[in-house]
Symmetry: C2
Subunit: 752 residues, 2 copies
């Protein structure tokens, strides 16, 4: 019986750590515990962020943040040393053999060594050389525990690459065929425009045409000579853009489904296997069929050190559906479904102000009824709608003499007062807890508070905060609450937000790598009036032009889209992501460097395309998965009834095993609540929000049974063997774990 | 027992005609048969096409096709009279009451009346007035039987509209908010550029920004003043383009899934109900539990008049899986799965040249082995690859003095000879039937034949056919056969082709309607050097411009994107579909007409967006449905074994019931084949390609059982009642159907 090892198995199951990284000796255990806590994770994250931030200060730096070579190279070395320290800790935990086998860690080590050497070279030479390897820095960030979602995202992108690349080749093949056709045809018919004069230009024109960025323009010279020449372009676009691009999306969609299913399967079976391992460790030889509350409690004190005794008890009750004195393995398989629950007694009273004196109660009750009435809600919608129309009219009639700093319209104050009163009424009527538990209320609240802050900023004339005032039309978003569909869609989106954030982070990591490469090669190559030899010279021109008899300053702003520092690079890359007119940037840079620069831009386009399709497919699939549920299905709820006797019994048990005050008080709270309500039992509700795993469970219901059957067929002989081993041989692998410290209240961290 | 009525029920089930349109009296039956044959369908199609084609000749006409008002108005009246005639036929069949209730037909009638009035007005006034109603002409085409797929497509688009519009409103809402922000902010900071100077311009700029068509340009003036102003645009695009647009796709995807499932369910149950009706009519009172071969044969002679007696017999055998003397209802439910099968005796010999003399046989056998060998295949791939490289090099070194008409390179002839020999070898080795049954071989064959035709064209100096020569790089597409994935993907695409064609047709119908509206309002409004007051004047300018000291002719070609005739309109609309730079056309037209013109272009953008998303989702879903099958699963195969006795028995039966020579000869063929092969039984294979219905059947396997259960719960009491009615009351509704004409060989058409 070893609670700590069981807890570690369960942790590994949760984090999807493979079991061959399971600590095998006391040193490894210490290292495991050291490397698995939030402090360490946070250090990893901060080191990763620091390394990435450094590119703000390294040449070519953002002007206001420029640091001396000396300073930033030292900072870099410091961060690298920290990474090295983290890696050493990992080495201690994994052992040399496992460490070598772990691909991601090995890549990280190599990159680390490279960066070390380069940082030292920079320090010695006192100047930065071409450091393209900085593009690899995001590896340090991605590897840290908190970026697991980004890592999964990246893995998914790489997994869907092979079929994607196949179809991409088909796309390129048609491009080459049409380039050959284009060159022959246009050559033949003497439309000798620069779009198709050489094979390279043909290919580039058709690549840009694929992105539609040069569309009618590339066709126009030929179209003006012969109307039927549009057929060439229409056929090309129909095949490439509307057929093969859709095919690409279809292939990504197809692969995504498969990959998702396989991933879910392996996660599910890994968790099951972790539970099996933990269960084997928990059951004692006297009682081989089950886990008692005492054992479960011991486990949970390692697995979730911060969980209160009451919650541990309730979790046990939630698992124990059969009511038997022990948890069977079948019960225990639901472990991961119940550990995340937040427990709460089902309210005996209806309102938060039930305990107040009678008169106050009546007042609050009145406010509550008012706030909950349809009339109040619709009155508020009307106010918001009027406000919307008001803002529109105001903006429409806004004249040039107007400035926010001099004049606050009275309507602004009136509406703000109404919103303020509404927020106060709702908070008092519903109670702060109920009020803030709704996302919509939180939104209302923050918009109103921001508007007030804006007003204060205006009153005290704090110029930089004016933008807050401008945000007031956001109030209008509340109107979308009226319709059920919007509520569903927006709630779903809210649930999907973490996932979308990880998609965004993945994008930023791609941006970072491309920005570094761009800065190393293209920093400072474009400037006003450059690129005069290219076809896009106009967009970079800053010159006086004469139209007939009128002279104007024609300003082509594209020289602003440069790679002069990391922030500009990000903006430039965003513009490339949006695709429109991206070829102007490409041609500008190409004309000032070499033809090979196009490779950079084309690669970036393709990478963005993969990622964009990936996220489209991802969002669509998730949406279909999450959306069809009715609003009350938004969470998973477990119900547990606790009787007075049970509570007393448990209290006794805890008094024996862990007599610490804090643990007992939470259980005594249960008894007090029973006394107050006068009932002999109390119902607790455990609540958590739906996860993708819950929905996938429902979706693959049948397959899961097959997987489990398959899994147990493969694994059944092994436990038997190991049991025999345990019985026969006197402990061949001495466990690194200390004997269970039943009386200690500390979690895994305490060992250090 | 009434074979014809049963056949009509089955037809209605197949065509998804509702049963309330079932002909109730002899006159209706005659009308039904008149309106349900290919001649009538073809007439409908041609009338629809003629009406649509008319817009080529009506003012503003394509110059070379211009017709006199007199002529085209008369043609139109003629076509409309034909439509009216078709409608009268339908009225006769449906009866006035049902006719009124049928929505689509009513709409068609109203449009017809309107068009009649207008055509007459045109004839009287001798000049065309503003005839926007011509945009409704596609209704006549869409309503015809052959355009069923387009109709379903349109219905699907309309069904997915409500949720789409909801999200679109969210999109527009954010657009308004950002327009207000943009106007206030830019006003405030004095970036008084024309993009945001009024609320209308703000909105238009942001709408165009949503399509990304003006992207970096709209940001540049502000960005050059303050680098942080890019945040406004990045936030806007992130919300609108990357969030809400993806949400739109997700919603379309979600709706699509639901709509597809519901459609499949209703079709399936409708078919089942049709089979129930037909079965009730077929079973006789003596034998209430089954359908004999004689009855089935009588049914099939009405349902598929052109099917041979052998195939009717084989179809019966395929249905009759239990081997009982009668078909039970359960057997009969598979009716629609087996009626489309093509029957073919399983080849006793292996090669098509088995019957030839021995020496010839050996030669052919040699060719067969050669053609099937891996070595031959890879040799051909190598030839194709060399040809590809050759063409690339040739095109690369192509100089301006070269012209196809003067000089045919020897390499062209060499490669063409190799391909020609390959085609001949394959045809002789595999046999023409086996060769042409593969899509890839067909492709090879046609490309090679086209290349030969091109060569002949060159030899005889036929200038307009040179383009054929240019198509030769298409041969390279064969290289994609090497990899399994490409074969799968391209085969799937080939299977999906009809569906994609119907998507394309839907697009053309949208184009047509928009083209008519465009021509009525915008014909002739843009011309060179127009639009000088707009922001896009440059794109329409045809003028000498002085850059410093150099004067060049700057040609803005956008005046070519006009609505001057239907062909130009189609090209312009295609450019608008591609989206890039679409606002130049919009602003040009707007500056020459009124601000309301923007509505036309924006509506077109949104319509195209819906359709594009629809087809993306459609293709992805279909692809996932069709693709995962292995290549040998590409078709549905039924196997039926016919013994000598059975064949003789059936022949006897047919001699009694339909002694026509043609019907007997097909059965005698079976006996002859048995004699030749010397076996006492012969196996026939029935083959058809997979349809979506087969795959959906597999996909919704479980739901289908539920649906059937639900269906029979609802419908079981009714058949009982009707049976009782039949037994008790002496025929309350006299059937319009004549007694079964067992001896006639004619199908439903013969009645007229």
């Amino acid at each position: 019986m070893n609670y700590q090892e069981a807890a570690i198995y369960l942790q590994e199951g949760e984090n999807n750590d493979k079991f061959f990284t399971h600590p095998r000796n006391p040193k490894a255990l210490a290292a495991y515990l050291f490397a698995h806590n939030h402090l360490f994770y946070m250090m990893e994250l901060l080191t990763g962020l620091l390394l990435m931030m450094l590119s703000l200060c390294e040449a070519p730096a953002v002007p206001s943040l420029r640091l001396d070579v000396y300073v930033h190279a030292t900072l870099e070395l410091l961060a690298l040393v920290m990474v090295a320290f983290e890696l050493c800790m990992k080495l201690r935990w994994l052992g040399f053999h496992t460490f070598i086998r772990h691909k991601r860690t090995m890549v990280k080590t190599c990159v680390l060594l490279l960066q070390f050497v380069e940082a030292i070279v920079v320090l010695i030479r006192q100047t930065s050389h071409v450091r393209v390897t900085r593009a690899l820095r995001p590896i340090f960030l991605v590897d840290c525990r908190y970026c697991g979602a980004v890592r999964r995202n990246l893995r998914q992108i790489f997994q869907s690459l092979p079929p994607f690349i196949d179809i991409l080749l088909l796309l390129l093949f048609f491009m080459v065929i049409f380039a050959i056709l284009g060159k022959s045809y246009y050559f033949n018919l003497q439309y000798n425009k620069s779009y198709f004069n050489t094979l390279e230009n043909s290919l580039v024109s058709l690549f840009v045409l694929l992105t539609t960025a040069n569309f009618p323009d590339v066709m126009m010279p030929a179209y003006s000579k012969n109307r039927w020449s549009c057929v060439f372009f229409i056929v090309y676009l129909s095949i490439e853009l509307y057929f093969i691009m859709n095919l690409l999306l279809a292939v990504v969609f197809d692969t995504f489904n498969d990959v998702e299913k396989m991933k879910f399967k392996s996660l599910l079976l890994h968790k099951r296997s972790a539970i099996d391992h933990a269960f084997q460790l928990l059951v004692s030889r006297q009682r081989p069929m089950g886990v008692s509350l005492k054992q479960f409690d011991g486990l949970m004190r390692f697995y979730r050190p911060r969980m209160s005794a009451r919650d541990r008890f309730l979790t046990y009750k939630a698992l124990n559906t059969s009511g038997a004195p022990m948890l069977s393995l079948e019960d225990f398989y639901k472990f991961y479904e119940v550990t995340g629950l937040k427990w709460k007694a089902r309210r005996s009273g209806e309102y938060w102000f039930d305990d107040l004196p009678h008169t106050t109660f009546l007042i609050f009750k009145g406010i509550n009824l008012l706030v909950k009435s349809k009339a109040f809600q619709y009155a508020m919608y009307v106010v918001v709608a009027i406000n919307g129309v008001w803002i529109l009219v105001e903006t429409y009639t806004l004249n040039s003499g107007f400035s926010w700093s001099r004049f606050v319209p009275w309507s602004y104050i009136v509406f703000l007062t109404i919103y303020g009163v509404e927020v106060l009424l709702k908070i008092t009527g519903l109670g702060p807890v109920a009020y803030f538990s709704s996302g919509w209320n939180l939104f209302d609240f923050s918009v109103t508070v921001f508007a007030f802050l804006g007003l204060i900023a205006l009153a005290f004339d704090m110029e930089p905060f004016y933008f807050i005032v401008v945000l007031r039309p956001l109030q209008l978003l509340r109107l979308f609450k009226i319709k059920q569909r919007y509520r569903n869609v927006l709630d779903t989106m809210f649930e999907l937000f973490p996932r979308m954030a990880s998609l965004g982070l993945t994008l930023i990591i791609f941006y970072y790598s491309f920005a570094i490469v761009g800065m190393e090669f293209f920093a400072g190559v474009v400037y006003p009036n450059c690129c005069n030899t290219s076809t896009v010279a106009d967009s970079y021109r800053l010159i006086n032009i004469t139209y007939g008899n009128k002279t104007v300053l024609e300003e082509g702003y594209y020289y602003l889209n440069n790679f002069n520092n990391i922030l500009s690079s990000f903006v430039t890359l965003f513009e490339l992501t949006v695709v429109n007119n991206w070829y102007i940037t490409m041609e500008g840079v190409t004309s000032m460097t070499s033809h090979w620069s196009r490779l950079y831009f084309m690669t970036f386009y393709i990478v963005t395309m993969v990622r964009h399709m990936q996220s489209q497919v991802f969002l669509s699939c998730m949406f279909v998965l999450f959306c069809p549920c009715s609003p009350d299905e938004n969470g998973i709820v477990f119900e547990v009834e606790v009787s007075r006797d049970e509570a007393l019994e448990t209290l006794e048990l805890y008094k024996q095993t862990c007599p610490g005050q804090s643990s007992l008080s939470s259980l005594q709270g249960v008894l007090q609540a029973m006394d107050r309500s006068g009932h002999s039992s109390l119902v607790y509700l455990g609540h958590r929000s739906r996860t993708k795993s819950d929905l996938s469970m429902k979706m693959y219901e049948e397959e899961i049974q097959e997987w489990y059957a398959e899994y147990s067929r493969e694994n059944l002989p092994q436990p038997d063997q190991s049991q025999e081993q345990e019985l026969d041989s006197p402990d061949p692998n001495p466990s690194p774990f200390p004997e269970p410290q039943l009386n200690s209240q500390t979690g895994p961290h305490s060992i250090n």
